[in-house]
């Protein structure tokens, strides 16, 4: 026999079979031989029944007849309201999923086309031509400079800007100056910027191709 009594917590849990396996065995061994603890377990079991009975007894202040009628009525009203609201919800879902879905898509696609057209029309023809050239270059893999016009090319190099046509070329150079930056724009223009070493003055040369 285990000499120490289990705690009240253990006895309370044991009474309703809520103890873990090992603890339950230990408590059972003690309770079997201890009249005091056995009595406590019986009392706790009785309390469980008392709790159940008390819980299922109507409070004295409640007029159950009236209350149950009122609740039954309210439940029916709630269910009827739910029935009314239910189809509206499903219709809304249907419209959102099926009805409005493709319509919205169509509207947005139309707006997109209009905006793209407006932007294209308002963009300078030079830019659109250049973009067309870039598109073609990307498609064919040909360098952009060669597509400015068949037989005409513009090059920007550290030496200056050179225009070539039918085998002849014209170069704009700035001797004695240090090239700072050269660039080719989408519009078909070539630009070279030079800085004079002595004076520090900047010279910008831009050649536009039309």
């Amino acid at each position: 026999m285990t000499s120490r009594h289990p705690s009240e917590i253990d006895l309370a849990l044991y009474s309703s079979g809520d103890q873990a396996m090992y603890e339950r065995l230990k408590t059972a061994l003690h309770v079997r031989r201890c009249a005091h603890c056995s009595g406590r377990v019986v009392a706790y079991r009785g309390d469980g029944e008392v709790v159940k009975n008390v819980s299922l007894t109507m409070p004295s202040s409640v007029d159950w007849e009236r209350l149950s009628e009122e609740m039954t009525g309210n439940i029916h009203v709630g269910l009827a309201a739910g029935e009314c609201v239910g189809p509206v919800h499903s219709n809304v879902k249907q419209v959102a999923r099926g009805g409005m879905g493709w319509q919205k898509g169509l509207v947005f696609a139309g707006l997109g086309i209009v905006m793209l057209g407006a932007w294209w029309l308002n963009t300078a023809s030079v830019e659109t031509t250049a973009m067309g050239r870039i598109g073609r270059a990307l498609w064919t893999g040909t360098p952009v400079a060669m597509l400015a016009d068949p037989g005409v090319s513009v090059e920007a190099s550290p030496g200056g800007v050179v225009v070539k046509e039918n085998g002849s070329s014209m170069a704009l150079t700035s001797s004695g100056s240090r090239p700072v930056a050269v660039s080719v724009s989408l519009q078909g223009a070539a630009r070279a910027r030079y800085m004079d070493d002595d004076t520090g003055q900047m010279t910008i040369t831009t050649v536009y191709v039309q």
């Binding site: 309370a12 309390d47 299922l56 109507m58 209350l67 149950s68 439940i75 269910l79 739910g82």
Partner: protein
Amino acid sequence: MSEADQLGQAGFRPADAAAAEAQNRFIAENMRRVFLVIYRMVGNVADAQDLTQEAFIKALQRQDQLKDLDKAAQWLSRIASNTAIDFLRRHGRVNFCEIDEVAEPLTSPAASPEQEVLRTERREMLDAGLRRLTERERTALLLRDVEGMDAEEVAQHLGCSKATVRSHIANGRVKFRQFLERRKTV
């Protein structure tokens, strides 16, 4: 045809007279128990009334989820206790000090007025014992003793560990016992 079959065929929805009757019977047979369990959990009649209605409406609207019709009452109890637990969570603490001023009419003809008074006194005393428990202890004890859930199910309902639920149940039992013993000695 069993009641469960009738409820199932009727789908609780009063499409016809039989279904309406089955629905009414389902409400009448379970309302008292559901109301009382919720009342013990939330501690006042007004909230218990609202939550009972809410539980029945939920149950009857979701009857498609009910697989085993024989367990309709048990299923309803789960919905009811969940509804009450959600309410307790939303409101943090509820008022357990509602004072019953109106005396209950003496309904039992077999009991003498003295017996009835004693019975009422005892009931009120036990009621007070339950109110001494914390919200969690009382809820755990109600779900365990009245709804017949095991500790694991109670833990799932309350959203806490099994060990915590065991602790709530044990503390509730010990406190209730101590209350009764103190009352005896007074």
